[in-house]
Amino acid sequence: MSLLSIENLKTYFHTYRGLVKAVDGVSFNVDEKEIVGLVGESGCGKSVSMLSVLQLISSPPGEIVGGKVMFEGQDLLKYRSKSNMMNSIRGAKIAMIFQEPMTSLNPVLTIGRQLTESMEVHLKMTPQMARERAVELLRLVGIPDAKRRLDAYPHQFSGGMRQRMMIGIALSCNPKILIADEPTTAVDVTTQAQLLELMRDMVDRFNTALIIVTHNLGVVARYAERIYVMYSGRIVESGLADEIFLEPRHPYTIGLLKCVPQLGETRQERRLEPIKGLPPNLINMPPNCAFLPRCNYAIDRCNLEPWPSLKHVGGRHYVACFREILEKS
């Protein structure tokens, strides 16, 4: 049994321009201590699906209209967002790191306050104990002079340091799962690598499963054991990292791989091919495959039938496509 399994999750936004099906039937699971990647172009619904797990969708306009989020034998979607049950899961069992280090920390509260509060709430620590543990956490995530920094404010920290601190906050209560939603998108490249290494070391040390959400295939290639590829609110392909990288089967995944440069490759050997066209906007989508307008492999059936569901194609590999494409790379 998986640690977390999301079944047929649907999250819609009711906007004045129409219904946005941001997440439209996503299934997803994570095992203990596993590192899973969720990849897709921006706007495809990665953040919304992760926020739905913790019921952090602002409602209105958002609404989780269906599906299950099974965690430790319970369907979390049976509980209201502000219920005690959800509060006892968030931060304690499932923690989250967000994309924007500049806006994700409260500007008027000290670093110490923001680090200790979840420990005080979930682990029932006294302020004194929580402070001592906070110092230790800051050291672990590589912030020097930790004791003095507790009384600093977020604006005195760089973006990379804030993300380090977010990692510290997220792991402070020893959660089972850490969801990192594009944690490195807003920082520079060297910091990116450091943060990713740090995160991997930390989940290893704390025995935490990690979901890395990213639009960067390079990141998942390096860290994830298993990968989900998302397009337009749905999972189009999933499998072990090797299966996805060596035998991509969905035209979208194939396209994604063609537009990432690989190490040691020269300009002559392979031209990078961007995927033509734009990702669809998610308002009032037609029922058939959303990738169809951009697809090089389309057949008549794609136009006639609704979106294909995920099919098992061997190993832990699943693909949502009518064509049986097998492209070795």
């Binding site: 926020l51 913790l54 952090l56 602002s58 502000k82 959800m86 509060n87 006892s88 899961i89 968030r90 931060g91 304690a92 923690a95 989250m96 967000f98 924007e100 806006t103 994700s104 920390l105 409260n106 500007p107 008027v108 509260l109 306050r113 509060e117 979840s118 709430v121 979930h122 404010y153 604006h155 977010m166 906050i169």
Partner: protein
């Protein structure tokens, strides 16, 4: 920080100086002559030119404008606010008599509007879209558009004339008879606080709604904190930053309001005194009141600027 306060105090002094010059000139540029009004009051119209001149000398009115201004300033530095022409007494006596009344009413209105305005705004934001929010927001929108003196007249008509629950007007000190005093100030304080409460409610509500959508509030939720803690620790402090500015402005607004409200309710504070002094062209009294109000507004704004730093650590006083 200290150098910031000193610089702000210096700027305050400059502002006050400009205010004194303006009020000094304007009250003297109004048509009419304070002595004529004084003489009408005292039935001494039949004075000779010499006797008139004597009075002018007594009140320092025979000198040129710059000299009169210098006289006023020199007096102020000695703690002398001059002589009221109309009442023929020391302005300081008038001030010590009238000032506490206005301060008492103003301070009550200020505290009430701060507490209620912020509380209403926070509650509306937390209950956004409910009937309670709709009702309070509607009342606040009406409240900012209604002139306070008009509300005063309506209140008098309904609560005093028709229902007979409250005295029509007048003021007595709370030290004299607390209960009767309180009955008499209910309506004037309500009128003074009306606009401040309404505008603070609107501002606090919109500021709260803005903060609630911020990423750091989502972070707070993601930690599993209870809503009560998220509101009290993470939301309100951020939401109050823009509200504090307006609270500083309210001080000026309440003083301005007291000029009208004290006249409507027949209260002998400096607001009403100011109205009468302008009518009577009682130069020294108008000048003294304006000066005191300007000083208080400057101090209020300084306090606001300092409390910013307490609310928002990003602010540096340089």
């Amino acid at each position: 920080m200290t150098s910031y306060i000193i610089r702000r105090l210096f700027m305050g002094v400059v502002v006050i100086f400009i205010v004194t010059v303006i009020v000094f000139l304007f009250i003297r540029l109004l048509p009419g002559d304070p002595l004529t009004i004084y003489l009408n009051k005292t039935d001494m119209q039949q004075l000779t030119e010499e006797q008139l001149q004597e009075l002018r000398v007594k009140f320092g009115l025979e000198k040129s404008l710059p000299m009169q201004y210098i006289d006023w300033m020199a007096g102020l530095f000695k703690g002398d606010m001059g002589q009221s022409i109309y009442y023929d007494i020391d302005v300081r006596i008038l001030m010590t008599e009238r000032m506490p009344v206005t301060l008492y009413l103003g301070a009550l209105a200020f505290v009430i509007s701060g507490v209620l305005g912020i509380a209403f705004g926070v509650i509306c934001a937390l209950k956004r879209g409910t009937w309670l929010d709709t009702l309070v927001t509607l009342l606040a929108n009406i409240g900012v558009t209604m002139p306070s003196f008009w509300v005063g007249i309506i209140l008098i008509y309904i609560l005093s004339v028709k229902a007979g629950w409250l005295p029509v007007s007048g003021y007595i000190s709370p030290f004299e008879d607390f209960w009767e005093s309180t009955r008499r100030i209910i309506m004037p304080v309500t009128c003074l606080a009306l606009f401040p409460v309404a505008s603070l409610t609107r501002l606090t509500r919109s500021s709260m709604l803005e903060v609630i959508q911020q990423d750091y509030i989502r972070t707070a939720w993601s930690k599993g904190l209870k809503e009560r803690l998220i509101v009290s620790r993470h939301t309100i402090k951020n939401a109050l930053i823009p509200v504090i500015t307006v609270i500083g402005v309210q001080v000026a607004f309440i003083f301005g309001g007291s000029v009208l409200i004290e006249s409507v309710f027949n209260i002998n504070g400096i607001g009403r005194l100011a109205t009468q002094a302008v009518q009577n062209q009682d130069y020294q009294v108008v000048q003294a009141i304006t000066l005191i109000m300007a000083i208080m507004v400057v101090i209020a704004n300084l306090i606001v600027d300092i409390s910013y730093g307490w609310l928002d650590p990003r602010i540096r006083y340089e």
